[in-house]
């Protein structure tokens, strides 16, 4: 039996503990904003927050999350998240959009730790999030934009 907090709600789970968090979210909880891209933590599309830090949900077994606080794109909130989402919309960052939930969760993680990142900081923090449409230039600009919004 695993008890965890998901987007602020207490959840009890007694199914297969080896099931990756990604599929627990998508298939059991119906939270499909978190995406499957590779299943082996190589693309970042499945990024969520576990205890406020970015985590690849595709390689995180639910059984390891007893007592954890999990936040997905659907439940993400607060000043940093709002700033990131506003910047993403202002700059029209997404193209196909499939990677963007993961990009946003990583960007929120970065700005929560580092309010004024440099280009290099952004590149390092975001480098595990692949965008096959190559929106990287707008992602970087949007992270800077979000940082400015948080300053102001």
């Amino acid at each position: 039996m695993v008890t965890l907090t998901l987007n602020g709600n207490a959840i009890r789970y007694d199914g297969d503990p080896s099931m990756p968090l990604l599929w627990f979210l998508r298939d059991a909880q119906g939270l499909t904003g978190t995406k499957f891209g590779c299943g082996v933590a190589q693309c970042g599309a499945c990024t969520v927050h576990v205890n406020s830090e970015p985590r690849r949900s595709c390689v995180t077994p639910v059984g390891t999350l007893d007592g954890a606080d999990v936040t997905t794109i659907e439940g993400a909130s607060g000043k940093v998240t709002e700033a990131v989402k506003a910047a993403w919309v202002a700059l029209d960052v997404p193209q196909c959009g499939y990677c963007q939930s993961g990009q946003i969760m990583s960007a929120v993680g970065l700005l929560s730790q580092m309010p004024k990142p440099t280009d290099r900081d952004i590149d390092l923090a975001m480098n595990g999030n692949i965008c096959r449409c190559c929106t990287y230039h707008r992602i970087r600009a949007a992270v800077h934009d979000a940082a400015r919004r948080l300053e102001g």
């Binding site: 297969d16 099931m19 990756p20 599929w23 998508r26 298939d27 059991a28 119906g30 939270l31 499909t32 904003g33 978190t34 995406k35 499957f36 891209g37 590779c38 299943g39 082996v40 190589q42 693309c43 599309a45 997905t72 794109i73 659907e74 989402k85 993403w88 919309v89 029209d92 960052v93 997404p94 193209q95 196909c96 959009g97 499939y98 990677c99 963007q100 939930s101 946003i104 692949i130 965008c131 096959r132 449409c133």
Partner: protein
């Protein structure tokens, strides 16, 4: 499928002629009325205006990142003088009579950067028609002269002070008729075209609500993964489904032409079931050559003349007389297109005895025909709901309708009565073919004493991915697949002695 396309191929050849305008927007009235609900205005196949003042644009092109939803909506919104906030976009159903890509001929599909170009005139006219009918409705309602009615940001106005929204006029606009086809706006009057408008899908793509195929939720939906052979074309010889069936959540295991299908409750059970399967494969006749072997044979072949795609002047003679000859071989490897959303498709039987596919269909007319053939249905009995797709990069434009065929095979064989979502893993994608093909180009260029190019001899070697598909007779002629010589046979530079030839190779690795 043969029959479906036989009559169409000649027209496909005349793509540019077809583009000169065969359109569906002047549908006969009864059809329009049938499409519209009570006081909705549905003037043509490309938009609907609801009483709540929203404008739903119907996109015949798939959205997978290049922005056609926004581009197409921009054309219509500008022509209507709508307010951008009124705009919604939904995908068109599979219907090549209404939604053909005018640069492809009678085929609904997206590709080759043609979405905006082929929609341009069609949608300007569709928008102009809708606008004129809104104006006619207002003139009738207010009993005024239509000439003095203007529209600004979705508000229809008359100098007398009368004003109405599109939504308020929708019911009446549906009933008024206009004479002839109104002219679209002059470019000087454009208010959205050429300007920045927020993309219609950005918000849903920043909050997790955008609906991709993998996200489809339906009652009684099962997930299917397919165990695929490691060599292309291998067939399952012995399958022991017992270990897979022992996995909690696995419903059934069966053989399909693509491999061994595992249908389960959710991805994880399907994946564990697939991992547990014991399969031995019959690899008779499969491709055994390595990429290195193939490249080596291509390089040798590229030194010989192939089937002629273009032949201007006398390249051999000019090369023989050139002051300088430059020669080079260029090799391109197999590349997986690797869209971030791997292949997937939701398929179900419909109450009327047909079937419905929901996925990132890039060539709806092909996919519809292919699925229909597998299921023993007529193409019109197969509905396609085209969903947002997580990229394509060429991967989804399968000219033989692979994903639709696979989904139909699964549906045909499954005992599960509800909808089935087939998902490819990333490993399936990388190992699963439809790669950008290996190509070798051998070029010989001749310069005169002033450094001018006087001769160009290019030999191109590779697989044809048009061969064996409905596009073959239109695009593969005299041993040359137009898609493999495009850009070379159509070289725009003036080279007096230019020869482009091609060798089509037969390799058991599917490409695209």
């Amino acid at each position: 499928m043969e029959q479906t396309f036989a009559a169409n191929r000649r027209q496909f050849l005349k793509g540019s002629v077809a583009a000169s305008l065969v359109i569906s927007f002047n549908l006969p009235m009864p059809k329009c009325v049938a499409a519209a609900s009570a006081s909705e205005f549905a003037p043509n196949a490309f938009l609907r205006i609801a009483p709540d003042n929203t404008i739903t644009v119907i996109s015949k092109h798939i959205e997978f990142g290049q922005g056609p939803y926004t581009g197409i909506a921009t054309i219509l919104a500008d022509e209507l003088d709508a307010d951008w906030s009124q705009i919604r976009v939904e995908s068109a159903p599979a219907d090549h009579e209404k939604y053909a890509n005018l640069s492809f001929g009678p085929v609904q599909g997206t590709g080759g950067s043609s979405a905006m170009a082929n929609s341009w005139e069609q949608l300007r006219n569709a928008g102009a028609e809708a606008r004129a009918r809104l104006v006619a409705a207002a003139a009738k309602e207010w009993n005024v002269d239509a000439e003095r009615i203007t529209i600004e940001k979705g508000v229809v106005k008359h100098p007398s002070g009368k004003a109405a929204t599109f939504g308020e006029l929708a019911g009446l606009a549906q009933t008024v008729m206009i004479k002839g086809q109104p002219n679209p706006k002059d470019p000087g009057d454009w208010r959205l075209i050429g300007k920045h408008v927020p993309k219609v899908d950005t918000v849903s793509k920043t909050n997790g609500s955008a609906m991709f195929t993998i996200d489809v939720k339906l009652p009684d939906l099962a997930t299917c993964l397919i165990a695929r052979p490691s060599r292309f074309g291998a067939k399952p010889k012995d399958v022991d489904p017992a270990p897979a069936l022992a996995v909690p959540g696995v419903k059934e295991v069966f053989v399909v032409p693509e491999g061994v299908a595992v249908v389960a409750d959710g991805f994880w059970a399907a994946k564990k079931g697939r991992d547990a399967l014991k399969i031995s494969w019959d690899e008779t006749g499969t491709e055994l050559r390595s990429s290195r072997d193939l490249v080596k044979s291509y390089v040798d072949l590229a030194k010989t003349k192939g089937a002629i795609a273009r032949n201007d002047g006398d390249a051999d003679a000019a090369l023989a007389g050139a002051a300088k000859v430059i020669e080079a071989t260029y090799t391109f490897p197999y590349l997986a297109h690797a869209p971030l959303e791997p292949n997937d498709c939701v398929i179900r039987r419909t109450e009327d005895g047909g079937a419905e596919l929901m996925f990132g269909s890039q060539l709806q007319t092909v996919d519809q025909a292919v699925a229909a053939k597998v299921l023993g249905l007529k193409p019109a009995q197969v509905k396609i709901k085209t969903l947002l797709a997580g990229g394509s990069f060429g991967r989804r434009a399968t000219p033989a309708g692979d994903m639709a065929a696979e989904a139909a095979h699964v549906l045909f064989a499954a005992k599960h009565k509800g909808p089935i979502k087939i998902i490819w893993t990333r490993e399936d994608d990388i190992k699963g073919g439809r790669y950008r093909p290996i190509f070798v180009h051998h070029l010989k260029g001749g310069l005169d004493t002033n450094g001018n190019i006087i001769a160009w001899d290019q030999v191109i070697v590779g697989q044809s991915f048009i061969s064996g598909t409905p596009f073959e007779s239109a695009m593969l002629k005299d041993g040359v697949d137009q898609t493999m010589v495009e850009g070379a046979s159509t070289l725009p530079y003036l080279v007096p002695n230019l020869r482009v030839s091609a060798h089509i190779t037969e390799v058991g690795v599917p490409t695209l």
